[in-house]
């Protein structure tokens, strides 16, 4: 292990990788100098195993996708996915509202997934697309944000955090990852909202909705969104948009988790079952009709 210049202080788990075929890192100059064949390499922690085929990216993107809808119908293994998430900026900060359903094919694998990832007290990330992809890479992003904080003595900006994630996604482009996330927080430039995609897309914006139910959520959001919403109106809008999406999208449902991002960090506002919301809105409609 010392020939690569790293001296592990504890028994490392890289000994598990001896003899395995790890994904090739074209920037690793050591290999060329020492002239070792790939099979004899001591595995590098952090590199992924790929199938031993001619075009690993093509194989992975056709057999191991965690894609939306029935795109993974022909696959042997189906991964957890499906969702509606939304976030919008208004004068009082940012509202983040999500559902909590995960599906594997036609089966609802969970109704209680935490799709807002509380990365640290001032940064939130949402989860849409592949559940494992989102939770793994956003946890990784949290690590990178913490290292930034320790090295630079100040908090990372939302722009930088989202850029780190977008860069990671771009380097795994074509391998079938599925992630549509919104990175949001309040830094020295104010409240910020970025959308980051699994093909490396990174967009700054005032309002986004991601997931299989996003079109339904956009319909409600576009109709009622104003920058000068009060906090109660904004919370109500976020809640309604998710309700309508879960009502019409089969892959969305469960519980609406809603967060408010403020100057002092994020606050969780509520966790309401969308079925209870249905009866609440029905009652409202009935009262409006009669008045």
């Amino acid at each position: 292990m010392s020939m690569f210049g790293m001296e592990p202080l504890v028994i490392g788990d890289d000994i598990l990788d001896i003899g395995s075929r790890k994904a090739v890192d074209r920037y690793c100059g050591n290999k060329a100098q020492i002239g070792l064949s790939q099979d004899l390499l001591m595995g590098r922690p952090g590199a992924f195993d790929v199938p031993n085929v001619k075009d690993p990216a093509l194989y992975c993107s056709s057999h191991f996708r965690s894609t939306c809808g029935t795109g993974d119908a022909g696959q042997e293994i189906k991964f957890a996915k499906g969702t509606t998430t939304l976030a919008f900026k208004f004068n009082g900060g940012i509202i983040v509202s999500v559902d909590s359903r995960a599906t594997q094919g036609n089966y609802i694998s969970s109704q209680t997934v935490k799709k807002v990832i509380e990365m640290n007290p001032y940064l939130l990330g949402t989860m849409a697309g592949g559940a494992a992809d989102c939770s793994y890479w956003e946890r990784r992003l949290n690590l990178q944000c913490r290292m930034y904080e320790l090295r630079n003595g100040r908090r990372i900006t939302v722009a930088a955090a989202s850029k780190l994630l977008a860069g990671t996604m771009a380097s795994y482009r074509g391998y079938g990852l599925s992630m549509g996330t919104m990175i949001t927080g309040w830094d020295e430039t104010g409240p910020q909202l970025y959308y980051v995609d699994d093909d490396g897309t990174r967009l700054k914006g005032k309002m986004f909705s991601v997931g299989s139910g996003s079109t339904f959520a956009y319909g409600v959001l576009d109709n009622y969104y104003r920058e000068d919403l009060t906090l109660e109106e904004a919370i109500d809008l976020g809640k309604r948009a998710i309700y309508h999406a879960t009502h019409r999208d089969a892959a969305s449902g469960g519980i609406n988790n809603l967060y408010h991002v403020t100057k002092d960090g994020w606050v969780k506002i509520h966790a309401i079952d969308v079925n209870d919301m249905h009866y609440e809105f029905e009652e409202e409609k009935r009262n409006e009709m009669s008045s």
Binding site: V10, F48, E76, I77, Y107, S110, S135, Y136
Partner: protein, 233 residues
């Protein structure tokens, strides 16, 4: 009747297009696993049938694996991937114990299993896992996973070929869904009996579930095992 109709349609389809036969690195070996968490215990159950296609390869293969004396991994899916996964987790668990001079706690095992599974994101372990154990506070914990490591702590879980038969039953009886009475607090022995019922029902309707159920009860004092016979058809 459903299968008869499908085969006549399939035979027309079969002659109209060439069928590609290709090596698949995965085989589905069937079986069901389930776990329920309690206030000071956790009960895990798994059947012991190993199948491949329409054949039963063995009636006495365990799907449960104790990683520490407070934590059990239950896995259904492809047996070779499950065996490899158990090996890797055992090695990592031993290294942790050597480095930290204490066994891994269940929440840490849960996170380790997640990253181990995601480490093979581009060639996944075909293993559907349920992790059950006692958490640091002495309360039962059950974690459900998908094949690439997305996980969540839940009150109960099931995985494998009989998942869709067991989960609705557990939703009703353990999760108290669609019931009007207050949720009862169940003792470990009551949960064992409920799981036996669940596996009996799954065994009736799932071809890959049957033969025997192995049930482990984990408390702060350790693990107790019992077996329960199912139909062998």
């Amino acid at each position: 009747m459903g299968t008869l109709m499908a085969s006549t349609e399939a035979s027309v389809e079969a002659t109209s297009k060439p069928i590609e036969h290709r090596f698949s690195p995965y085989d589905f070996n069937g079986g069901t696993v389930a776990a329920v968490a309690g206030p000071d215990y956790v009960v895990v159950a798994a059947d012991t049938r190993l199948s491949s296609g329409y054949e039963i390869k063995s009636r006495h293969v365990t799907k449960l694996h104790a990683l520490t004396n407070q934590c059990i991994l239950a896995s259904a899916g492809c047996k070779t991937d499950v065996d490899q996964l158990r090996s890797v987790l055992d090695i990592r668990g031993k290294m942790y114990q050597h480095n930290h001079r204490k066994p891994m706690q269940t929440p840490s095992v849960a996170q380790m299993l997640s990253v181990t599974l995601y480490g093979k994101r581009f060639f996944p372990y075909y293993a559907f896992n349920v992790l059950a154990g006692m958490d640091a506070a002495g309360v039962g914990a059950v974690y459900s996973y998908d094949a690439i490591g997305s996980f969540e702590r839940t009150g109960y879980s099931a995985a494998g070929s009989g998942q869709a038969y067991v989960i609705p039953f557990l939703d009703n009886v353990i999760g108290n869904r669609n019931r009007l009475e207050e949720k009862p607090v169940l003792a470990a022995q009551e949960v064992v009996e409920l799981l036996k019922d669940a596996f009996l029902s799954a065994g009736e309707r799932d071809i890959y579930t049957g033969d025997q159920v192995e049930i482990m009860v984990v408390t702060k004092d350790g693990i107790q095992t019992q077996t329960f016979a199912l139909k062998a058809d």
